[in-house]
């Protein structure tokens, strides 16, 4: 199945006038970001990827979870949870970002269900677009993903030239959307593999993923961490731009008469993240905090949830102010695991 670009934009306009919120890559103050569009004219089509991932639409940077009023010894409170989330369509999602969503679903539905995440997920349709180009920070293929992967998408579109997209239905939600708008789609096929071949080749395979977790399990005390990550300045940018970083804080804001309890993005790279009330800090040094980020993504999360907590979108590589590239760290680990160098706990402590 295929769809022409004008039909696709007509589809988005139709969904919009049907009451859906349409989110797409746009330029906002000259920064490429996902944002709600007023018209399809605002959609940017020539891009590698947005500065921020779409995580913020499911896990907002800050959101109230409770509101309270205090009157002397009495407290009244109400839970804040949007019951009727506006049905949303996100268009132009890259396969890496789409792939991050089912990975994140696991932590938010593990035992206790986080309704904030789940409700927004349920009311959102993801229309992803395959990548025909990448930059040197991208490394999805090294993680078993692909510039044409359907993971996490409802519909995947692959540009096949002449303002035409190949359409792949990747979920029931996607199927329904196509069925409901069948008149806009047309019969047709294209050779996706040959279209994606150049970008796949450019991406290549930058390290051996299967070597990373075993090395991490063995080398918690390796001098590698101090040598290669101590210069991290702990700004947290890597975690905020990341589609799979999901740590948050819970903080009260207000006055003596009332206020709100907020859920806010937080970052394991901050010194105060783990500090105890006594002043003792389990991760007192920046290299220890940086090791946590890598261990969490490539060792703990896979162990617990079966997925690597990284999709190779390359954002943290692009935006780190001191060029501490996770891609370089992973490549080095992959190389080290071949040479077999390690430092034992006994030597270090």
């Amino acid at each position: 199945m295929i769809i022409q670009k004008d039909k696709l934009f007509a589809l988005l306009e139709k969904l919009k006038s049907g009451g859906k919120r349409i989110i797409a890559p746009t330029k906002r103050e000259n920064i490429l970001l996902f944002s709600e569009i007023g018209s399809t004219d605002e959609i940017i089509q020539d891009y590698i990827n947005t500065r921020l991932s779409l995580k913020g639409f499911f896990l907002p940077r800050s959101e109230p979870i409770l509101e309270f009023r205090i009157h002397q010894k009495n407290v009244e409170y109400t839970t804040v949870l949007e019951e009727n989330i506006k049905p949303t369509v996100v268009f132009g999602v890259r396969p890496c970002d789409a792939g991050s969503l089912p990975i994140m679903d696991k932590v938010y539905t593990w035992d206790y269900i986080d309704e904030y995440w789940v409700k927004r997920r349920e009311s959102t349709i993801i229309i992803a677009v395959s990548c025909l180009d990448c930059d040197e920070a991208c490394f999805c293929t090294s993680l078993g993903l692909d510039p044409g992967s359907t993971k996490g998408s409802d519909i995947l579109l692959t540009p096949v030239g002449n303002d035409t997209f190949l359409v792949e239905i990747a979920s029931d939600k996607g199927k329904k959307l196509v069925e409901d708008n069948a008149e806009l789609f047309a019969e047709g096929d294209a050779d996706k593999d040959s279209i994606l071949a150049p970008v796949r080749q450019k991406l290549g395979k930058k390290f051996d993923l299967s070597s990373i977790q075993p090395w991490l399990q063995e080398n918690f005390f390796h001098k590698f961490w101090e040598q290669n990550t101590l210069y991290c300045i702990g700004c947290g940018v890597c975690t905020f731009v990341c589609p799979t970083c999901h740590c948050f804080d819970i903080v009260d804001e207000g006055t003596v008469s009332g206020g709100k309890r907020m859920k806010l993005w937080d970052a394991c790279q901050f010194r105060t993240f783990t500090i105890h009330a006594s002043g003792h800090n389990p991760r007192a040094r920046q290299d220890e905090r940086h090791r946590q980020r890598i261990e969490h993504k490539f060792n703990y999360y896979p162990k617990k949830f079966g997925d690597t907590l990284c999709v190779g979108c390359g954002r943290c590589v692009r935006y780190c102010p001191v060029d501490l590239s996770i891609l370089r760290i992973l490549t080095m680990i992959s190389q080290l695991s071949q040479t077999g160098s390690q430092t034992s706990r006994a030597e270090e402590k």
Partner: protein, 280 residues
């Protein structure tokens, strides 16, 4: 009313006791009577206690589940939330979420002797276990019960009236101590650090479970003493205090390696702890 996993329950402070100059006990009761009636937990589990407008703080549930009319927490005043808690009077309400985490496996210890070792404010998480097994319905299921409790000074001992009750009981043994210099003229306990006092007391490790809770330095020096007494690491339990926010395995704050303290802890065996990175 809409509720989510982060929505607290309201609890009223029905009694306040000062344990030490900077440590206070709250006796709490759910405002919703049904909630109080149905509230059950395992000793060792924790909750998130909140002062609205200041935030949430993690404390263990310090009372035993056998007390049905109310529950207790004991906190040291150290920061934003605990300072705000201290300003509250009887009749004030606070928020509570819980119980969370996994407590002590009391059932698997039936037929065994129990040795409790606590330092300072490490007693509350063990006190819930102690009062549980001292309950007439439980006491005969366990063998000898020994408590070694120490603090920096006499004024730093928590639950002083209960220490007296424990001393007077014939079905348990209490060894209390204060650090050298922390004694008062009328102090009738031992003078010495907990590990030293434990070494002198030589409790048998035979068929015995040890529970240890206190400042990291005390735990560090007590573990070798337990080993020399013949305790295997798998029979030594402690609780972790990593900083928490959600308590539900979502916020990513509390992990020690791949061990999520809020979900798989806070209770942990010394054996498991040894296998984890030293991030606690």
């Amino acid at each position: 009313m809409t509720r989510t996993l982060y929505t607290p329950e309201l609890c009223e402070i029905i009694e306040i006791r000062d344990e030490t100059p900077d440590t206070r006990t709250f006796r709490l009761r759910f405002v919703d009577e049904e909630k109080q009636k149905n509230f059950t937990f395992t000793p060792g589990q924790f909750g998130l206690y909140s002062v609205f407008g200041e935030g949430e703080s993690t404390f263990c549930i310090a009372s035993p589940p056998t007390w049905k009319e109310y529950f207790e927490c004991c906190f040291r005043v150290v920061g934003r939330v605990t300072k705000a808690l201290r300003l509250l009077d009887v009749g004030s309400v606070i928020g509570f979420r819980g119980p969370y985490g996994i407590g002590f496996p009391l059932e698997s210890w039936e037929g065994k002797n129990l040795l409790f070792i606590a330092g300072g404010i490490g007693l509350p998480p063990l006190r819930t276990v102690i009062w549980t097994i001292l309950d007439p319905g439980y006491r005969q299921k366990y063998g000898e019960v020994t408590v070694v409790y120490g603090a920096r000074s006499v004024s730093d001992l928590v639950y002083k009236p209960e220490l007296k009750q424990w001393e007077e009981r014939s079905d348990m043994k209490l060894i209390k101590t204060v650090d050298p210099g922390g004694e008062t003229p009328d102090w009738d306990g031992k003078i010495g650090f907990v590990p030293t006092v434990l070494e002198e007391a030589k409790p048998s490790s035979n068929n015995t479970i040890a529970l240890i809770c206190g400042p990291p330095i005390m735990i560090k020096f007590t573990l070798p003493v337990l080993s020399s007494l013949g305790f295997e690491l798998k029979n030594v339990y402690t609780t972790l205090e990593n900083r928490m926010k959600c308590g539900l395995g979502k916020c990513g704050r509390c992990n020690v390696g791949d061990f999520y303290v809020c979900k798989e802890g806070p209770v942990i065996t010394a054996e498991r702890l040894k296998s984890l990175p030293p991030e606690y």
